[in-house]
Structures are given as structure tokens and as C-alpha cells.
Subunit: 334 residues, 2 copies
DNA sequence: CCTTTTTATAAAAACGTTTTTATGAATTTA
DNA sequence: TAAATTCATAAAAACGTTTTTATAAAAAGG
């Protein structure tokens, strides 16, 4: 028994396929009795429209694509879950593509597998790609850069300001030796937070030591290992504070410090970024710069949907963090 | 400038559209010079095939769908990342649908948006849905139940055995009062681990106290709060061990115990499930039953692809955990 | 009561591909 | 060298829809 098509429904109901289509799509031109009858037949035959036919003809997939290099960690699942829910609210589905293969990304975008795209590709999509997308009037929202033109916008965090604020806060407490735990340099948020941190150091006349930027990959376990290595190298004179690129790093850092017998914040202060759900329950509860992730997710989807509907041009929106002071930071001891 | 189609390429190259199609799809029937010329023209025009047309005609989307109720936590991102990579290896893309709306799920599956589906829907898809899918010869792999027929298989963990083993291990250490921290009852893994735990209790003649099953929702922070409440209620006579439904719960439980001044494993033992990446770096490192998540991901994708290729019928595969003893468990003190 | 308008439905075209079939030229076979 | 085969390409059909256009019947208008 082959797949039931609209043709089968039409034959069974004794009407034309256009009538079936109209009945199914609530186009108000039919005799109510006919419509009712068609719907009953469709139901009885368990008819489900083929989406590929639908998409081809209508030019709409009712899907948004999220292209990302990673789904690891609380940032992403909060983002994905919130975006999904918001998509559903607009009648769209969310398609998550986890890949770093630009070819895959571009052919899916330009091949119209989705009606609009959300991009978090750590800048792998370059000027030239954007130009190509623009020619095709692709609707897009970038999360990995501030950018806008008529069909593309962005919703980003002001990570530079966040880094600056966090560093300023620690400096204000009296810290003089502050290390930064970075991700890799392709992570724009990591880089911008670091730049903000550097700017604060400079502004307050603190020296910058290249050794004091530690690669933690934005992950808890990687940071744990990196900090253990760092402590072994710098045991004689440890920083009095660590500014971790995200909360996961902060947590890994604290675990490593504890494993070496240091108290947080007694001996060393640690500050993170994001304010992920666990941050407040961690021991000690984390001082961090809160990122409104859910807000970013909602603004992104809403903006994209409005662009698709032609109600809005692309715009670049910036979200600012909020310093949340908890127990992991303190005035320095020495 | 409207979207470039295969027709435009054909006209520009002075050949028929079938020739263009053959050139692009490496069908070896063309004069190499013609093929070369067509490819050059396509390249010059920045032609990208419309996937909807392609999918409709060929009946293949080259996409697998992962339908899940959640993407939260290390289990899911390990699963999704590994599945994505494995899909790419087979030339497929992975489509992640995060939704609990059965209607959405079924219309995407039956509407052929994807060539095969991976299902983790906490049993929301029932017998009847499966019957419908079977009529359409949908290729599927279930992660949330053991099941198989000619076009559908499953790859699951033997959570019952894992729960049994973990409980037996604690009993063997001498623990008599062991609490279980569950997810919600729709989480099959939670339920089966609990059942294994109950079976072990029974086998070794330990009494079961209904109060000793605590709802932690498989999340770190929820468990943290639940255990704090539990401690307040049972401060006079605490269990000597907690068996947490997953590692996140174990971590939340340990944090709560610490917050109340209990030592782990000095005063109380805690055992988890999964062996997520952080488990070994946690303080104390977690005793846990390791789930081969990456293996599950790879087996799932491979099985699904082989079913799509018609090389294999559905089969039900079961993975077994491995008890990893670390520092969070110990013989009881009283 | 004949013409015009409205209503309900059917027929046909279209979306952009792939695939099947047809065509004509070049090559081989007998 | 006429017939058969192979090769290269073109033409046409098909995938399952939606949308546009056509048609016939019913209702309204003068």
C-alpha cells in the first residue's frame, strides 16, 4: 500500500484535488457540507500531506534553521529550548544543524530547506558568504556578530562591556593580580570579554601578564585541568582573582583551586559569566555577569519571523549583562 | 533577480536541463567536456539546487530527524553531537526537533520531512502511532523503549540492570538505608533504574520506605532543593546512601549535603548514573554507572541508515552500563 | 425571462527537480 | 554498406502539492 496522496483523497471523496486542498487549508470557498465530507474522508484514510510537495509549491517550509558549531553546555540548551518554544508559538519548527562544514551550511541555507536562519558559527560564515546570502534575500539573524542589512539582523551580548564591568568590579575590591580564563580565540564572546578585561586593567593602570590568560575552552573539565597545571606553575605567587570566560569555566576553576587546598573566596576570588541555572546553587554560589539567554532566544526568533513576514528590516540588537554578586568573590587577602 | 534554477543554468550553458542535472549529480553519461562546461556555468551563476524540488522528486531528504522532549544536560548534548557527526559521515544531516506536541511530531514524520527518525519522546508516541508509522514503512529507531519490527528498531540502556547493580554495590558495602532520587515518572530510565534498585532491596531483604524515593527531576538545581527539603524532614535519621537517578542529580545531592555540613563520603555515600564528563572531576569524584552515550548515538545512526538503505531490518539493541567506583561512595559509618 | 452576478467546483498550470523515454549521430557489426 | 549498437543529448513525464483559471449551475437583477 503506497503512501496516500491528495489524489487518493479526492478520488475517494468524489471531488477534485483542488477541493481537497481548499478543505484542508481552510480556504473559505467551499460548501460547508463538502468541506466536512472531505475532511472526514481525509481523516478516515489517515491522509497526511507530503511536506516536500507542499514546500516546493508554496515556497515556504515553515521551518527556521539554527546553524551552530556546538550544542554543549547550559548556554546552548537554554537557547535551543527557548527558541524552539518560541518558534512553535509562531507556527514554525526549529531545525538545529550542528556542523562546522560551511558547504553544508550554505547549501542548506541557499537550497531553501528553511525559511530563515539563525547563525552561531563562530564567524565561519564570512563577508563573501553574507554577500551571496544577501543576493538571495535570505532572512538571517546572527548571534555571533553585530551586523545588519535589509534582510539580516543580529542579537548579541555586549561581552566587551561585561568583561570590562567584571574586571572593574574585581579591581574595585582591591585585586591587583587578575587572571582571565579564555575559550579558544575563535569564540568571539571569549575574545570580547577578554578585551573588556584588558581595557579595565589598562584604565586602572594594572600591568598585564601574558601568562595570566589561560585557555579553558569554556568547559568545566578542560578548565579544571588547565587551572591545575597553572597552579603548579605559579604556586609561589597565584593571582588573587580569576575572571572566567563563562560559568562552567568558573566552576572548573573553583574545583581545581579546592583540589589544591585553596579556599574560594577566602584565598582566591572567582567570577564567571552567563549566570547559568546552577550558578546560584554552586558551592560557593557564583558571582557572575548574567546574560539574558532566554531573552536573546525570544528576540532572535521574533525578529526573524517578522523579517520573513516582510514586516521588518534587519536590525542589530545588543543585550547587556548584569553583574550578580554572590559568594565566590571577596576582597583580596594579601 | 529571482533565484537561479536549473533552467537558467541550462539556458546559459546551451544544454537541456537533464544534462545539467546529470552533470551536477555525477551521472556518468556525459561527454566530459560538456560536463565540465556545465559545471563551470553553474559555478559562475552561483547555482545552488533547490532542496525542496530535489526532495520531492527523489523522495529522499538526506536528513534524519531526532524528535526529543528535551535537550537539557550532558546526556543530550553528547548524544546530539555524536549523532550529528555520525550522520555527516553517512552523508546525512541531523534535524533536531524539540517538542512535546505529538501532532507536530507525527506530521513531520509522516509528511516525509526526513528519511528516518530517532525518537526520544518519553513514550508519548503510543502503540497506535507506531501502527500508523508502520503502515507507511517509516524507518525509526527508538531510544525510549525496547522495540522492533521490520522497519523500526531501538538502542537502549539496560537501566534496570544498572539500578540493580548500583544498589547491590551499596548494599554490599553495608548500607541499609538507601534513598533513590528519581526524575519524573514519565522518564523511563528513571523508572527502570528505580525498579532495579527496588529489586535489589527486595533480594537482600531490606525494607522499602516510600519516603525514600525523592523527586529530583534529573537536574542539578532541582535535586539540590529537593534534598535540602528532604534533609530538613529527616535530619534525625538520614539515609547512609543516596542513589541518584543520574549524575546531575548526584551532584546536586552532594552540594545539598555539603551545604548542611555533611561529608561525602564520610557521612553519606552518593552514587549516580551516566558518568558524564564532569563526573570524574567533581569533588568528590563520582561513583557512577557509566552509560556509553556516544556508543548509543553511533549505533542508532548506523542502524537507521542501514534500514533506510534496505540493508537491515529493525532490531532491538541493549547497552549495559559499567560500575565506576570513585570517591563519592564508602562503607557506612553507623 | 433573459442577462448578469455569485457560488461551488473542476481543470490546468506551476513549483524545481530527477528520471524515464525519445532522438539523432557516431560507431560497430555482419 | 545496410543494419545494429552505442553514445550523447534532448524532450517529456513525474513527484505532491498550491494556486490560478475555467466552467457550470444557481441566484439576482432589470
Amino acid at each position: 500500500m503506497a503512501k496516500i496522496t491528495i489524489r487518493d483523497v479526492a478520488r475517494e471523496a468524489g471531488v477534485s484535488i483542488s477541493t481537497v486542498s481548499n478543505a484542508l487549508n481552510d480556504v473559505d470557498v467551499l460548501n460547508p457540507a463538502t468541506k466536512q465530507h472531505v475532511l472526514e474522508v481525509a481523516e478516515r484514510l489517515n491522509y497526511v500531506p507530503n511536506l516536500n510537495g507542499k514546500m516546493l509549491k508554496s515556497g515556504k517550509t515553515m521551518m527556521l534553521g539554527f546553524f551552530t558549531t556546538s550544542v554543549s553546555g547550559p548556554y546552548f540548551y537554554k537557547l535551543i529550548e527557548t527558541m524552539s518554544r518560541q518558534c512553535e508559538r509562531h507556527g514554525y519548527g526549529l531545525n538545529v544543524f550542528v556542523t562546522k562544514d560551511k558547504q553544508v551550511i550554505m547549501s542548506n541555507i541557499l537550497g531553501r530547506r528553511v525559511d530563515g536562519v539563525i547563525i552561531y558559527e563562530e564567524l565561519k560564515i564570512d563577508e563573501h558568504d553574507i554577500e551571496i546570502m544577501q543576493k538571495d534575500k535570505i532572512k538571517a539573524v546572527f548571534l555571533d556578530r553585530a551586523f545588519s542589512n535589509d534582510t539580516m539582523g543580529s542579537v548579541t551580548f555586549d561581552s566587551y562591556a561585561a568583561g570590562y564591568e567584571a574586571a572593574k568590579y574585581l579591581i574595585g575590591l582591591g585585586h591587583k593580580r587578575i587572571a582571565y580564563i579564555s575559550g579558544v580565540d575563535t569564540m568571539f564572546d571569549s575574545v570580547r570579554r577578554r578585551d573588556g578585561y584588558l581595557a579595565a586593567l589598562k584604565e586602572y593602570g594594572l600591568p598585564f601578564d601574558g601568562d595570566y590568560v589561560i585557555q579553558g575552552y569554556f568547559e568545566e573539565d578542560s578548565t579544571f585541568n588547565a587551572i591545575k597545571a597553572f597552579i603548579r606553575m605559579h604556586a609561589s605567587k597565584l593571582p588573587t582573582a580569576f575572571l572566567a570566560g563563562n560559568d562552567l569555566s568558573a566552576m572548573g576553576c573553583i574545583q581545581a583551586l579546592k583540589a589544591h587546598g585553596y579556599e574560594v573566596p577566602g584565598d582566591v576570588s572567582v567570577v564567571g559569566f552567563d549566570d547559568i541555572d546552577i550558578a546560584q546553587y554552586f558551592s560557593p554560589p557564583l558571582t557572575t555577569v548574567r546574560n539574558p539567554i532566554a531573552r536573546q532566544a525570544i528576540l532572535t526568533v521574533d525578529h526573524l519571523v517578522r523579517m520573513i513576514q516582510g514586516k521588518e528590516e534587519g536590525q542589530s540588537q545588543t543585550l547587556t549583562g548584569e553583574l550578580i554578586v554572590r559568594a565566590s568573590s571577596h576582597v583580596p587577602v594579601d
